[in-house]
């Protein structure tokens, strides 16, 4: 029988084995940010609570130094992250301050960014919250990271997620569950739960997440922050560890809509390394925020409100009234194929995932359970390396692509995906944007849905159709339900990010 090992013959593969310094990825459920000096306390300025645009103004006017921002952030992380569990790894504070100071001349002036741990970042492990990649240190920066660094941002740390971004609560993380800063008994949503919680807990200035079926917007809604999924192809996927390649998009999680526009400005634009990146010239999304929404038409899909009751329904009424007061007409629209979105999504996303995750086979990366022979190396490594939800989706996807089932599942799902897209095309002939809830409920309790995958999947019922249609959508705080944040989702047609940001900004201003 063959034992297998990777060749150490030189070249890039070798870099896999070399250690990157300055890291302290936490393993297990006991957060201990050991690189942070415990003497730190939050300053009176409480700079960690400020938005990106506020900090930029303060730095520009030389009222503060970037090191003070970083100091407050680390103090806040020490204070709160023992409860919140947002971070998987953090930069050395002193190193980060040095880097930030060196970036003083660049537009972002060294302000630190927080990154979901499925985005390849040199200097950090990129674990995807999977045991499989527990020790994986990538050798290249994702395009979004390159762009952030080029603009003068520094990287503060990497945040927790559902393993390989599969989940809606971060309970599927291979390491630990992130808690909702608004109520630590509850989930922060997912899969970008760590990024959303870090922003909500002011453990971050802004963060990047990834959204395959709602993974930015749903946690943004559940944590009460702003999260945007751009048009498919707007932001390069190069360096994003793929879950479902035809649906994945990277996007910002921020404290307000203005920041969201600023961060999108930094990361969007064509990338020659991503064949699905669209050749749209980069826009300034913050430019039009103040244009107002007078005379715009919004659509309210009946399929998105029919199940809402009580406070959730009253939130919807408030949205309609608030917009009406601004001179915006809200029409009823219909997205008749909404009910098919979840099954279509789980077939297509799982099919793509089954192939995307095949590279984790025990030959490379951290996890090799057995090398008795090739077959056991594959099967045992995958058995030990992947968590239950990841395995479930690989099984679903493998089944859907199998000969004899392909047409009934994959092909059929692709057809229905087309119908879902058509629903939106028709609606956008009538209205400028569509509004609705981001998620049917506010944050649920940890453990509440973890034994019921279908109930968990249904928490993405309003976000999944947007990914299937490839269009942009933003979630902003839209009121309170059961004492918890409830998200307002604003959906736009392809490349209409500027428009939905304008609508979101207007609502944010009116509701403050």
């Amino acid at each position: 029988m063959t034992r297998t090992k990777t060749c150490r013959g030189g070249g890039t593969a070798d870099a896999l084995a070399s250690g990157a310094s300055g890291l302290n990825a936490r393993e297990g459920s006991n957060p201990s940010p050991g690189t942070i000096s415990p003497a730190n306390e939050v300053s009176l300025l409480r700079l960690h609570e400020k938005t990106l645009h506020e900090l930029l103004a303060l730095l520009e006017n030389r009222e503060i130094q970037v090191s003070e921002i970083i100091a407050d952030l680390y103090a806040a992380i020490i204070e709160k992250d023992q409860t919140v569990n947002a971070y998987l790894s953090l930069a050395h504070k002193e190193d980060l301050i040095k880097q930030a100071q060196a970036n003083a001349h660049l537009p972002l002036r060294g302000i630190p960014a927080t990154i979901k741990d499925n985005i390849s970042t040199i200097g950090f492990k990129t674990t995807c919250a999977s045991k499989f990649l527990e020790k994986f240190e990538p050798v290249f920066d994702a395009t979004v990271i390159k762009r952030l660094r080029a603009a003068g941002a520094t990287i503060l740390g990497k945040t927790n997620l559902d393993e390989f971004a599969m989940g809606s609560s971060t309970e599927n993380s291979g390491f630990f569950t992130t808690r909702n800063p608004r109520d630590p008994e509850r989930v922060p949503g997912g899969s970008s739960g760590g990024s959303a919680a870090a922003v909500a807990a002011n453990e971050a200035i802004f963060a990047l997440g990834s959204d395959t079926g709602g993974s930015i917007r749903q946690p943004a809604a559940l944590c009460g922050v702003v999260g945007l999924k751009p048009t498919y192809g707007r932001v390069s996927r190069f360096g994003l560890v793929a879950f479902a390649s035809s649906l994945d998009q990277i996007g910002p999680l921020t404290k307000d809509v203005h920041d969201c526009a600023l961060v999108l400005n930094l990361i969007d634009g064509h990338d020659a390394h991503d064949s699905t990146s669209v050749n749209q010239s980069a826009l300034d999304y913050s430019k039009d925020l103040n244009l107002g929404v007078n005379r715009l038409k919004l659509g309210l899909p009946k399929e998105y409100v029919k199940a809402l009751r009580g406070e959730a329904l009253r939130c919807v009424e408030t949205w309609v009234k608030t917009f009406k007061d601004m001179g915006v007409e809200t029409l009823d629209v219909s997205l008749p194929h909404t009910d098919y979105a979840i099954p279509v999504y789980y077939i297509l996303a799982s099919s793509e995932a089954s192939a995307n995750l095949a590279r984790f086979d025990g030959v490379r990366y951290s996890q090799r359970a057995s090398d008795e022979n090739v077959e056991t190396m594959f099967s045992e490594s995958r058995d030990k390396g992947f968590g239950a939800e990841v395995k479930r989706r690989i099984m679903i996807g493998t089944y859907a692509l199998s000969s004899g089932y392909y047409d009934a599942y994959y092909t059929k799902a692709q057809k229905v995906r087309g119908l879902i897209k058509q629903d939106f095309d028709r609606a956008f002939q009538q209205v400028d944007a569509i509004i609705g809830p981001t998620s049917p409920t506010p944050a649920f309790k940890i453990g509440e849905k973890s034994d019921d995958p279908i109930a968990m999947y249904l928490s993405d019922v309003y976000t999944v159709p947007i990914n299937l249609a490839g269009i942009p959508s933003i979630s902003i705080p839209g009121g309170i339900v059961d004492g918890l944040p409830f998200g307002l989702q604003i959906i736009g047609d392809q490349f209409q990010e500027s428009k939905i940001l304008r609508v979101a900004y207007a609502y944010e201003q009116a509701s403050n």
């Binding site: 063959t2 990538p138 095949a358 030959v363």
Partner: protein
């Protein structure tokens, strides 16, 4: 019994870089994993970007095989686990290949031409290599991972192992003419799998697939073996099992690799990381306009234009540089058969002996040697010597002739001097001649040539010798 054979040929494209990244596609001899990057290592987060040159080369091959090029084709993922397949899937083309419905005409030994239909030509990436160590350890080299391949699939139009070999030879010739593939079966830059069934009269046989045929000879031998094996099974009233076989060239037999039950489900689906490939008419036209004369057309033209025998044409057109050399020489020295003879007897021999890939005498120098022979400046034997020297040193024939004093002696005075000497040294031979034994002329001529270090003009020598023998 009727034999039906279809071939699936993988050809590595000679692009500088790999199909989906900018790593060098040169993997032979490179140190392991030296030509790799996050993309061809399949690292998490990496994405493929299609190499336009690979598409151009695929189109060149497909158009040379008379294929239709659909406006749109797409890439699919072929899923299977293998240690040297870094992504756990191979990017290939499944139901919308780059090219379809072509044909290749082959010339059979009886002089007839057979048209073999090409079902499809598609692009895909190569896998890496596993190196199995004596201690049971396996090493993985991913330099080859991501090298562009085309797969050429024929219809089952071949009816004998010999035809299959001829098809492969002609295909290789075309790919080499186009400069898109080095065509080396031993090194694996050209690989051939065959589907073969022996069909009893009026009935349908069972198809087996044979892999691992690493030479033209192996293609023919493996298929011959399989024809006999299947025929024997059918004659014994048994049934042939559908299976994938591998050719064991050491033991000269096919062996079962996997049975029908073990057939893999590759779960093909469109690769969401790549956009569909669209080929416009302008690109197609550009490639067609730049298409070189292909081997079959060249053979036909040479037969007509130069009146050369089939044997000469076949050998001289086998490789494009040789064919081009011939044509350049003929321009300078317009006696095609003479050029052919000298190339076949001398140049190709020297080429083979030198293990070189190029003819080291510029064609104009080669033509010059032939002119010197023609004009009697040197004799044929000296001509061989000059060619050999020019091949070794790269010197011009004029320089060699003058340096070595090889110019033919046409000066009658010098030749006569030698003849007189030879006749006086061989009184017995003179007596024999006088007694009517004309055969001694040859012997004496040889002696004269020896005295002149072979430089005497042979025709002139013979005439003068007979004249002097008669006079003596």
């Amino acid at each position: 019994m009727r034999t039906i054979i279809g071939l699936e040929v993988h050809a590595q494209l000679l692009t500088k870089t790999k199909i989906f990244c900018s790593c060098s596609a040169e993997y032979f001899g490179a140190s392991p994993n030296a030509h790799t990057c996050p993309v061809c290592l399949g690292m998490p987060g990496s994405l493929p970007v299609l190499n336009e040159k690979a598409v151009e080369y695929a189109l060149k091959a497909a158009l040379a095989l008379n294929c239709e090029i659909p406006k749109r084709s797409k890439f699919d993922r072929k899923n299977y686990f293998y240690p040297d397949l870094p992504k756990g899937y191979q990017i290939s083309q499944y139901d919308e290949p780059a090219a379809v419905n072509g044909y290749l005409e082959i010339e059979l030994p009886d002089g007839t031409t057979k048209r073999v239909r090409i079902r499809r030509v598609h692009l895909e990436e190569d896998a890496g290599k596993s190196i199995h160590m004596p201690d049971g350890c396996s090493l993985i080299d991913l330099n080859r991972a991501g090298v562009p391949l085309i797969e050429i699939v024929s219809e089952p139009d071949l009816s004998s192992p010999e035809e299959a070999r001829i098809f492969m030879e002609e295909l290789r010739r075309i790919l080499r003419y186009l400069g898109v593939c080095s065509g080396d079966l031993e090194e694996g830059s050209l690989r051939c799998d065959a589907n073969i069934s022996v069909n009893p009269d009026g009935k349908k046989g069972t198809k087996t697939e044979i892999k691992n045929m690493n030479s033209f000879r192996a293609v023919e031998d493996a298929l011959k073996f399989e024809v006999i094996r299947q025929t024997q099974i059918l004659n014994s009233e048994s049934t042939v099992e559908q299976a994938t076989l591998t050719w064991n060239s050491d033991q000269n037999k096919t062996e079962v690799m996997r049975s029908k039950e073990e057939a893999q489900d590759y779960r093909y689906f469109p690769d969401p990381d790549l956009v569909p490939l669209e080929i416009d008419e302008a690109w197609k036209k550009k490639i067609l306009d730049a298409m070189p004369e292909l081997p079959a057309a060249k053979r036909a033209r040479w037969k007509k234009e130069f009146g050369l025998p089939d044997y000469d044409v076949k050998i001289l057109t086998d490789e494009l540089p040789i064919a081009a050399y011939f044509e350049r020489t003929v321009k300078e020295f317009p006696k095609p058969k003479e050029v052919s003879n000298w190339m076949l007897s001398e140049l190709l021999r020297l080429l083979k002996e030198s293990l070189s890939k190029e003819i080291k005498i510029p064609s104009e120098n080669f033509a010059k040697v032939l002119q010197m022979i023609e004009s009697g400046q040197i004799n044929r034997n000296t001509g061989k010597e000059v060619i050999e020297e020019a091949f070794k040193t790269g010197k011009s024939p004029e320089a060699i002739v003058s340096e070595k004093g090889l110019a033919q002696i046409s000066d009658e005075g010098k030749i006569i001097g030698a003849i007189v000497q030879v006749i006086s040294e061989n009184p017995k031979a003179l007596a024999d001649f006088k007694a009517g034994k004309e055969a001694v002329v040859g012997f004496l001529q040889g002696q004269v040539m020896k005295k002149t270090q072979g430089k005497a003009d042979p025709k002139k020598t013979r005439a003068l010798l007979i004249e002097h023998l008669k006079k003596s």
